[in-house]
């Protein structure tokens, strides 16, 4: 038994994290967010979220009506991002709006045609809103709807898509999985349907999906921060992780971390609908970091329209979580366009605001092929069109994005990342993010880089020479301009060693062999005492046993369990169990 295994068994940590001394209870957290939107700072005109919050509080009704009419008179914009706020207002109205404001709202669904979008969250917002509005105004013919279809046709189409999305998600996972930003849109959509759908089956399905989605996040959060890998994340929040929507949900749902100031608008719409408070078992899962654990998930790629035979490819996630840090990864590859985040180390900090508590590497891939795989826009405006809204996409120093030339293998808190970048590839180098908040960064003559993040000791072994580039705002970028490349990363808790020097000596004593030709290949005996073997393009092995990708669960680990294609999910904590069965639409709690 290794020293660290022994320490895990002997660790006498509290079972779950209690609410911090200053953290208000759930109802007060909900109310504080609603108040923030109902009473915005400054004197600008009210937006849809402000109107909705005031309607929830039954206040300033004349102002709400007038503001709504002004917004609608200016012309709706934003497609499905307009639909979901206006739908909330329609349901929160309850006779409070003026007749003319209500009429303007109704007319807008005849005169404005929102785009349905090209992304999973777009479609869910679109069909959730259309479903609820068609439900609100039944029996109307196609002349009253932008679709040209009757209320019943709209309702049927929307219900059909929502049901198919639930079925696909509970069988093969989300395509836009684990996004610390877009998660809010899935949460709010299910919150709407759980609260406002009249059909008992739709209502129940949505309520169960709330548990499902919250569990997906709960098992991979570290004090509210959604740890990688992610399908989509933005440039700034991939570094300062607190700046994600997940911070709002972590705080409101579980009292974890800190909400953004002001909270993002996604959380307000979640709260104005069902304001669903997670059950005790989910709270335990979200907060219990008493024992290290490995959590597995299978997701899927976004729709791949071109260049692949299968519409959805599998995504295999591994997330190792303990109180001090988390390490998470997918298998690498271009699984998502533009904003993929494939692996990282996240260390826990008492106050994450302004802190860049993460470390990772990537190949800054930029390619029309990637865009054409997932999008339909013409080739000549593909990259420029993306760059108009995702500024960093075609930048050599970017820190988001997957690459087909990156392969990742994680075992607990050890990661091997390999790169084999073809000659002629745009941006033929790798980037590594080394935060300003790393402490005591040292480059050992052996080639290992040592650093400390919070209570996490981190060791990195780049496989090729590198240099350091400054990052605006702090930190530095590891720049390694070699096509056959890679990095080995080992993380450990400060509590496992008597000091950093001891950790360093332990790392230097580990067996590490690698070669780069003809393809990168690593053999590494980790701190966990397990030998990891990984050759680019081949199935990784632990202790000589290949990873069983074909048996990868939809969810697997101590807290959440689901088999591929099962349409079931089992939540676990201690002896508590909650089983969600989406085929039968049943939810069973034990004991």
């Amino acid at each position: 038994m290794t020293r660290r295994m022994w320490m895990w068994l002997c660790a006498g940590m509290p079972l779950s994290r209690p609410l911090g001394a200053g953290t208000p209870e759930f109802d007060r957290r909900v109310r504080s967010v609603i108040d923030a939107y109902a009473h915005p700072k400054g004197s600008g005109p009210l937006g849809y979220a402000n109107i909705a919050a005031k309607l929830w509080l039954h206040e300033d009704l004349a102002l709400c009506s007038r503001s709504l009419e002004e917004l609608l008179a200016a012309g709706p914009t934003g497609d499905m991002f307009w639909m979901f706020p206006i739908t909330a207002i329609a349901y929160l109205d309850k006779g409070q709006l003026s007749a003319s404001a209500r009429q303007a709202l109704r007319s807008s669904f005849r005169t404005y045609m929102p785009y349905r979008g090209d992304t999973e969250n777009h479609w869910l917002l679109y069909y959730t809103s259309l479903y609820l509005m068609a439900q609100m105004w039944p029996g109307q013919d196609g002349g009253q709807w932008y679709t040209g279809k009757s209320s019943e046709e709209n309702l049927r189409e929307a219900a059909g898509w929502i049901e198919s999305w639930v079925r696909l998600t509970t069988r093969r996972g989300q395509g836009e999985y684990d996004s610390p930003h877009y998660m809010g849109l899935y949460f709010l959509s299910m919150s709407y349907l759980a609260e406002w759908a009249k059909d008992p089956a739709m209502k129940k399905r949505a309520a169960m999906m709330l548990d499902y989605l919250i569990a997906d996040y709960a098992a991979e959060n570290l004090d509210g921060i959604y740890v990688g890998a992610h399908s989509r994340v933005y440039d700034r929040p991939v570094l300062e992780k607190w700046l994600n929507v997940s911070s709002d949900f972590g705080w409101v749902l579980f009292g974890l971390g800190r909400p953004m100031d002001p909270p993002d608008s996604y959380i307000i719409f979640y709260l104005l609908a069902s304001a669903y408070e997670p059950p005790e078992i989910l709270k335990r899962i979200a907060t219990d970091r008493s024992q290290p654990y490995t959590h597995y998930e299978r997701k899927r790629t976004r729709n791949r329209w071109r260049f692949f035979d299968d519409l959805h490819g599998p995504v295999y996630k591994t997330t190792y979580v303990r109180h001090e840090y988390a390490v998470s990864s997918d298998q690498g590859g271009a699984l998502q366009p533009i904003q993929e985040h494939s692996w990282d180390v996240t260390w826990n900090v008492p106050d994450p605001r302004g802190v860049e508590n993460t470390l990772f590497t990537l190949h800054p891939y930029s390619s029309l092929v990637e865009l054409e795989t997932y999008f339909t826009f013409p080739a000549d405006i593909g990259i420029s069109g993306v760059v108009s809204s995702k500024k960093s996409y075609d930048s050599p120093d970017k820190f988001v994005g997957g690459s087909p030339f990156e392969k990742i293998f994680q075992d607990r808190d050890s990661v091997i990342v390999l790169y084999d970048i073809p000659p002629g590839t745009r941006f033929p180098h790798i980037n590594g993010f080394f935060s300003k908040d790393l402490v005591d960064l040292r480059e050992d003559p052996s080639g290992w880089i040592f650093a400390t993040g919070g209570d996490a000791y981190i060791a990195c072994r780049p496989l090729q020479p590198y240099s350091w580039m400054p990052i605006e705002g702090g930190g530095k970028r590891l720049f390694s301009p070699y096509l056959k490349n890679g990095i080995v990363v080992q993380v450990a808790s400060r509590s496992e060693f008597t000091g950093r020097d001891v950790f360093q000596r332990a790392i230097l004593a580990l067996d590490l062999e690698f070669h780069l030709e003809p393809v990168p290949s690593v053999r590494f005996r980790s701190l966990n005492g397990r030998t990891m073997t990984f050759t680019y393009g081949e199935i990784p092995q632990v202790e000589g046993t290949p990873l069983a990708y074909d048996r990868w669960p939809l969810f697997g680990g101590p807290f959440v369990e689901a088999a591929v294609d099962s349409e079931q999910l089992i939540l676990k904590w201690g002896k508590m169990r909650r089983t969600l069965d989406f085929r039968k639409l049943t939810m069973t709690d034990t004991p």
Binding site: A74, G75, T77, G78, Y112, M113, Y115, R116, G117, D118, W123, Y127, G142, Y146, T147, G148, K149, E157, A158, G160, W161, S164, N303, W305, R306, F307, D309, L311, T376, P378, A379, D380, I381, S388, S389
Partner: protein
């Protein structure tokens, strides 16, 4: 007799009045999140000004009409297949949640109510004017299909272009056979109005491909557009050998000898970044070209000189002259 010979040599205007329909997005200077300037269908009849018809919806890829009822056009759109009637004012989405981001549409002129569209995941067909749909691409290996055309000689004969080349079906899309441009993304297809056995295909990077055997086989037409992207093809209704091609790089290229030689006709255009071209069937010599985020341009001398004709700041991805009365 001599007068008859002279008349036969002159370009012949096509009888009747036409309306030019465009699939337009006014995107110049647009910032994501801001309110989109009027976009969608802009149309112009023979002497009238441009008019924005119907919804402000930018995601329109292509349109076609039923020659027996040209007052109704079908539009391939991001939201599905749109039926647009009442001179652009009345819209209905004919499809459901099973298809998205439509790319092309073609109405079978010999089979009333039969409409084909191509989309991100294949081809669908309706035989009842859009009331019901079925898949017509199950035997295609790759599904993303940018171009679909019905052979106007016979119902059920189709030519389609996807990421693996040009394919032809003789049974309404049940079975497909590779016809050319293997491994090349096809972006557009057109059948000559003068010779139904002559077809052209525009591709991404591979240039033009031509068929002289009724679409059974396609061969490279030469170097025009190779390494660049060609987006549209227009046959001049009044001159059998005149064809225009639009692309990024070539801009507007015109042949007067049915593809043997091509001349670039970009003098007066602000950039050779052209999405679409269309000959005016009612005015021989008049051709329109849409230049990316600049404007729609018109030429009255087959592209020798150009002048702006409105839609400034727009990208017109496709345009089509639609007759104002049924064609016989």
């Amino acid at each position: 007799m001599r007068w008859l010979l002279v008349l036969a040599m002159l370009p012949m205007p096509v009888a009747g009045q036409y309306t030019l329909y465009t699939c337009t997005v006014t995107s110049k200077g647009y910032v994501v999140g801001a309110k989109l300037p009027p976009s969608g269908i802009f149309l112009k009849s023979a002497a009238g000004p441009w008019r924005h018809a119907g919804f402000n919806l930018p995601f329109l890829s292509a349109l076609d009409y039923d020659p027996r009822d040209p007052s109704t056009v079908y539009v391939a759109a991001g939201n599905g297949l749109l039926r647009v009637s009442n001179r652009g004012e009345q819209w209905k989405i004919l499809t459901g949640s099973d298809v998205t981001e439509l790319l092309d549409v073609s109405v079978d002129p010999n089979a009333p109510g039969t409409i084909y569209f191509s989309h991100t995941a294949g081809i669908q067909v309706s035989h009842d004017a859009g009331a019901t749909w079925s898949d017509a691409s199950s035997s295609l290996h790759r599904k993303y299909t940018a171009a679909i055309r019905v052979d106007r000689r016979r119902s059920g004969v189709l030519v389609a272009g996807n990421e693996e080349g040009i394919f032809r079906s003789e049974d309404g899309g049940n079975r497909w056979r590779l016809a050319g441009a293997a491994g090349i993304q096809v972006l557009h297809l057109e059948q000559s109005p003068h010779d139904p056995c002559y077809w052209l295909a525009a591709t991404e990077g591979g240039g033009l491909f031509a068929s002289s055997d009724c679409g059974v086989t396609f061969e490279s037409n030469g170097n025009l557009g190779v390494g660049r992207n060609l987006y549209d093809i227009a046959f001049d209704p009044s001159s059998p050998n005149r064809i225009a091609v639009a692309g990024w790089g070539p801009g507007v290229a015109i042949t007067e000898d049915r593809g043997k030689t091509w001349q670039l006709r970009n003098s007066g255009l602000p950039a050779p970044t052209v999405w679409s071209v269309a000959f005016d069937p009612a005015s021989p010599g008049r051709i329109y070209a849409s230049v990316h985020e600049e404007a729609l341009y018109v030429s009255n001398d087959n592209g020798l000189t150009w002048a702006k004709d409105g839609l400034e700041g727009s990208a017109v991805f496709r345009m089509k002259f639609v007759p104002e009365a049924p064609q016989r």
